[in-house]
Amino acid sequence: MFLGTVVYALINSVILALMAIGFNLTFGISGVANFAYGALYVTAAYVSWMLLNLLKLPYFLSAFISILFTTLLGALMYRFILLRVRGQALSEVIATFGIGLAILELFRYLGFVGFEYTLPVFIDQSFFILGAYVDMQRILIVIFGALLILGLWVFTHHTSLGLAFRGIAQDERTALSLGIDSDWIATLAVSFGAGLAAIAATIIIPLGSISPSEGYSVLIKALAVCIIGGLGSTGGVIVASFIIGFAERFTDSYISSHWTMIVSLAAILIVLIVKPSGLFGEQKELEERI
C-alpha cells in the first residue's frame, strides 16, 4: 500500500509538472500570464481526437499535427491580440482569460462532452512495480516528463535561442540593446508554452477523457504549482509539483479523495503567508511583493 502510493504519487507529480511547465515557461520569459492555458491544453486534445476519429489519420501523425496547430495558435494569439496590450498586466490577464473562456465554452456548446472523447494509450500493457499495478502509459508519462524537462534545460542553457529567452527574462532592455527582438521572443515564448500544453495533453489525456472542465482544472493546477514553486522558476515548478503530487496522492489514499483539491489550497495559502514569492521565486521578489 505504502510503496504503491509512492509510485502513484511520483507519477502524479510528473503529471503536475508537465501541466505547469508550459505556463511557467510563458510567464517566466514574456511575463504574460496565459490564462488561456487550460483552453489550449483541451484544444490540443480535441484537435487530435478529431483528426484521429473524423479524418482517420494515424494516431502519432494526428498528435503531431495537433501539437503544431496549438503552437501556431499560441503564436497567433500573441501576434494579433496580446501584442496590442503588451505590458499592461490587467489587460493581458483579461484578454487571455476571455480567449480561454470563449474556447472552452465553445467546446461545451458544441457538445464535446462524454466518455467517448478520449485518446488511445500509446502501448496497452501494465506492469507490477513495488506492489502496485502501473500501466505503460503512466511509465511513459514519467519518461516523457523527465526527457521534456531535461530537453528544456538543455534548450535554455545551450542554444542561442534559449539564451535569448533567458536574456529577455532577466533584463528586457539590456537584451534589446544586444539585438534580441523582445516581441519575437515573447511570441515564441507564448507559442512554446502552448506547444508544451499540447504535448502534456497528448501524453496525459489517454488516462482520462477530454472535457471543457478539464481545461479549468488544468489551469488551476498549473497556477497552484507555479505559485508554490515561485513563478518563472523551473526548479521551483519541479519541487512544487512533487510537493503537491505527493500530498494529493497521500491524502487520497489515507484520508479521502474529496480532500485532494483542498490540499493544494492549503499549500498555496501556507506558502503565500510564509513566503509570498514562492519557494524559489527570489529573483523576482521585488516585483511581486512590496
Binding site: A95, G98, L101, E105, H258, M261, I262, L272, P276, I290
Partner: protein
C-alpha cells in the same frame, strides 16, 4: 490638405476650485442631467416593466453592484478574478443565518453583508502583499476551491445546498431595496474615490512604493478597500439568496466572477458609472441570448477580448468625452 480633429472642453464645470458658477438653467441641466437620468431611470423602471423583466432588472442591479465592487478593488490596484468569492460568502452567510438560526431576512441581510465582508477580507489578508497578476491568480483559485471544499466536507447542505430560505416581505421592497443600494453605492463610492481617501487608494495602484514613502500604511488602506468591495459583493449574494430562497454551490459559480469583469471592461474601468453602464448593457443582452444556452459565456469571452483590444477606455469614457467636448476638423498648418 491634411485635417486633424480638434477637441475643446465645454466651458461649464461644476467645480473650479471652490467656486460654483452656474448661470442658467441650461448649464445646470447640462451638469445635472447625466446624474438625474440614471436616478430617474432606477426609480421609474421597476414600475414600467413586467414581472419577467423586473427579475432581469434585479439581476442587472446585482451584477452592476458586483461590477462596482470589482472596480473599487481595481482602482486600488487589486485585480480580482473571483468576485464569486464575495458573492458566495454573502450568500452562504445569509443562508446560514436564515436557515439554521431563523433570522428575519431584513436582519440577516445587513449582518450577512458585514459578516461576508469580514470573512472575505480575512481570507484574502495573506494575499494582500501580492500585487498585479499574483493577486488575480489567487482570487481566481479561491472560489473554485471553496466550491470543492463544500462538496467534500458536506457542510451547509453540501451539494444540495440550503433551501426554504425566507423571502423579503414584498416584491416592491426587493426591487427598491436593490435599486436604492445600487444608487447609494454608485454615487457614494464615486464620491469616495474622488476624495482624498480615494486618492490614496488610486495612489497605491499607480505607485505603491511612493505611497509607502509618504508615510502611509498601504496594507491598512488595502484592507479597507478590500472590506468595502467584499461587503458590496456579500450584500448582492445575501440578497440573491433571499430572492431565490436557496443557496448552494452555484453561488461560487464562474459566472459571478466573469460577468462583473466583463461589465466593468465594456462600460469602462476606473469609473464606477462605467461598470454600472456595462451591467445595464450586458445583462439584458445575455437575457435575450438565454435561448442560445452556453453561447452566452462565449459572447462574454469575446466581448472581453474585443473591448480590451479595440476600446480599452470603455463605452462610458467614450460617451463622456463626446458629452464634455466640442469636436471639429481643423486644417493642419505647415
Amino acid at each position: 490638405m491634411k485635417k486633424r480633429k480638434q477637441r475643446i472642453d465645454r466651458g461649464i464645470k461644476a467645480r473650479s476650485g471652490d467656486i460654483f458658477s452656474l448661470c442658467s438653467w441650461r448649464e445646470m441641466l447640462y451638469l445635472a442631467s447625466p446624474r438625474l437620468i440614471p436616478i430617474l431611470g432606477f426609480l421609474i423602471l421597476p414600475l414600467l416593466l413586467g414581472a419577467y423583466w423586473q427579475k432581469v432588472l434585479l439581476s442587472v442591479a446585482v451584477f452592476a453592484l458586483l461590477a462596482i465592487s470589482w472596480d473599487i478593488l481595481a482602482q486600488s490596484g487589486m485585480i480580482s478574478l473571483g468576485q464569486a468569492l464575495f458573492f458566495g460568502m454573502g450568500a452562504y452567510a445569509s443562508g446560514v443565518f436564515n436557515h439554521y438560526w431563523g433570522w428575519h431576512p431584513l436582519v440577516a441581510l445587513p449582518f450577512a453583508t458585514v459578516m461576508g465582508g469580514v470573512m472575505c477580507t480575512v481570507f484574502l489578508l495573506p494575499v494582500l502583499r501580492l500585487r498585479g497578476i499574483y493577486f488575480s491568480m489567487v482570487t481566481l483559485i479561491i472560489p473554485l476551491m471553496l466550491e470543492r471544499i463544500i462538496e467534500a466536507t458536506k457542510v451547509f447542505g453540501g451539494t444540495e445546498g440550503l433551501s426554504e430560505i425566507a423571502r423579503l416581505p414584498s416584491k416592491w421592497l426587493e426591487l427598491y431595496l436593490i435599486m436604492g443600494v445600487l444608487m447609494a453605492a454608485l454615487f457614494g463610492f464615486r464620491r469616495m474615490m474622488d476624495s482624498d481617501y480615494g486618492l490614496v487608494l488610486k495612489g497605491i495602484r499607480d505607485n505603491d512604493l511612493s505611497v509607502i514613502n509618504a508615510g502611509i500604511n498601504i496594507y491598512w488602506f488595502k484592507t479597507q478597500a478590500l472590506f468595502i468591495s467584499s461587503s458590496i459583493g456579500a450584500f448582492t449574494g445575501a440578497f440573491i439568496t433571499h430572492v431565490y430562497e436557496f443557496v448552494g454551490m452555484p453561488a461560487f459559480a464562474l459566472e459571478y466572477s466573469i460577468l462583473p469583469i466583463a461589465a466593468a471592461v465594456v462600460g469602462g474601468p476606473g469609473n464606477l458609472a462605467g461598470a454600472t453602464l456595462g451591467a445595464f448593457i450586458l445583462v439584458p443582452l445575455s437575457e435575450i441570448l438565454r435561448g442560445t444556452g452556453g453561447l452566452r459565456i462565449i459572447f462574454y469571452g469575446l466581448f472581453l477580448v474585443v473591448f480590451i483590444v479595440a476600446l480599452p477606455e470603455g463605452i462610458f469614457h467614450y460617451i463622456q468625452r463626446k458629452y464634455h467636448q466640442f469636436e471639429r476638423w481643423v486644417e493642419v498648418e505647415g
